[in-house]
Symmetry: C2
Subunit: 125 residues, 2 copies
DNA sequence: CTAAGTGCAAATCATTTGCAACCAG
DNA sequence: CTGGTTGCAAATGATTTGCACTTAG
């Protein structure tokens, strides 16, 4: 069913390139244009939606008012600079057994979590 | 400088009433109308902004695409039901010394964090 | 031919702001 | 009178959708 889609390919390539983990749709759109290719914002939106539904990428909710995406797969948490907005990711998850504790305490069955630290990055402090 | 403001009072009362910790502006607006009083959405917005600046309430970013607020003060984390959207809060913070670890690992100076667990609430599971 | 992918414009949704009327001090 | 508060309408910002055109399978 899937036909060649250069927009989807470009989006996937950008996100898989790995250096960033806080891609907004606008960032992706700009990235594609910067590489010489063309793509409409709405096409990027649809590509992102599609990739998300396929489980290739996932949303990252930073305090920021736009939706951001990163490669899905290995779970990790983030640190965000309050001053410049820079985001870094942490190598491993700091909540090894916290979920079990939450389950006991609340009665919820916990399937995951989202953790963002805030502070100042080395450059801004 | 501050004159009586029934909108601000209503918003504060609702949020201080304590049962919820995921008030959106729309929720607050609806809540005020439900109590028989009137208030414009924009006035509620301004009241919320004012209370936030005063440090009375703070934002809570749940996956949800709208900004939510809760009483500021004691820090605690949340669990959100993926099915019905219900939110509960956890009594204490589960990351006592995690911030120090993050500082060492990333070079950021960490000032806080935001943690949301996701799963299914007792009613939905 | 048929359905997927794309661009363009327009519709939504939620948040914010401008402005004039209003009112307590 | 003066400045804070409010309602109403309109501006923003970002996400989402409708539609027609193009093209791979």
């Amino acid at each position: 069913m899937a036909r060649p889609s250069h927009v989807r390919n470009s989006v996937r390539e950008l996100i898989e390139s790995g250096d960033r983990h806080d891609w907004s749709i606008e960032d992706l759109h700009a990235g594609i244009l910067a590489s010489g290719l063309t793509a409409d914002y709405s096409s990027v939106f649809r590509a992102v939606t599609w990739l998300e539904r396929q489980g290739v990428i996932g949303q990252v909710a930073l305090g920021d008012s736009r939706i951001r995406y990163e490669l899905a797969g290995h779970h990790h948490d983030h640190v965000r600079c309050d001053a410049c907005g820079a985001v870094s990711s942490l190598p491993d998850c700091l909540l090894p057994r916290a979920e079990a504790r939450v389950e006991k305490g609340t009665g919820f069955s916990v399937t995951g979590h989202h953790l963002v630290f805030s502070g100042l990055c080395p450059a801004c402090r």
